[in-house]
Symmetry: C2
Subunit: 149 residues, 2 copies
Amino acid sequence: MSRDELAPGPETTTETTDADRFTNARAIRSTALFEDYTELIADLTEEFGEARITDIARRLGVTHPTANKAVLRLKREGLAISRPYRGVFLTEAGAAMAREVKARHRLVVRLLIAVGVPPEAAEMDAEGIEHYVSETTLKAFEAYLGGRD
Amino acid sequence: MSRDELAPGPETTTETTDADRFTNARAIRSTALFEDYTELIADLTEEFGEARITDIARRLGVTHPTANKAVLRLKREGLAISRPYRGVFLTEAGAAMAREVKARHRLVVRLLIAVGVPPEAAEMDAEGIEHYVSETTLKAFEAYLGGRD
DNA sequence: TTGGAAATATAGCATTGGCTACATTTCTGT
DNA sequence: ACAGAAATGTAGCCAATGCTATATTTCCAA
Ligand SMILES: [Mn+2]
Ligand SMILES: [Mn+2]
Ligand SMILES: [Mn+2]
Ligand SMILES: [Mn+2]
């Protein structure tokens, strides 16, 4: 039952292992929350001029202490700023993330709908899928959607 | 700056809120790890006749104590069984999850490739995406891939 | 057969991301 | 102006998921 050096394959090019894929997915998982927060804060700021903890919490479906703690992490990472008892705002880095994430979100929804997924399901599933779509895949989606914009 | 009762909309049908989408994504996040473990244990069992902690850990790119702890959770949830210092095996529930997840994994890869994503990127991204694809979306993927099977 | 290597288990630590309960501050209607 | 309501902040709890270090068990080769 030897399992060493299994199937080395004829590849001379560096090979993508299972571990690479799972490690990639784990790395993304740890940034997905920040992506949702920055995208949401950008939305709220556009709608209301500021993003308040209560509104963030309600839109995400979490309690306000949970939102508050997440915002502390966002601030620590340089993605947001806020003064006590005041609204939350994105830094330039946070705004850049929000723009990037929003574009990805929309493209994923459009792609899903284009291949026949009902809009409701597309919106629902995209909320999770969006975080795992690489640049390469995004480009492919753009090419696929191509003309019919 | 009133934000109460904003845009109630003309819907009579129950509406999907932002919070619903995020709550759904959080629920899925908490099962994604189990899905990867069951799928992997099924693969290893087929390849070697058993799934050993060391092999699980190496394939996932984590340390073996991490894999061991995850297997304890799998056992607690009735998805796997094992005796001390021996291989891990899936219960019927675990095997059912593995089958379902593997089918989803393959369909997602096929769909991505079908819309023009390079196979390498498709495999990489599918590892995360697969967990967030609903039954409805899966059905749409099947319909889209339709004939050219 | 037995000693070292390999595999497995366990202990203990850290962070994340949930929650409830309670404290503090700000806002608002009278 | 001020009292009560609303918003925000903080403390403390928990589970999940990662890690390193160490102990134990099993396997294998001489
Ligand atoms: Mn999302
Ligand atoms: Mn999004
Ligand atoms: Mn996966
Ligand atoms: Mn998979």
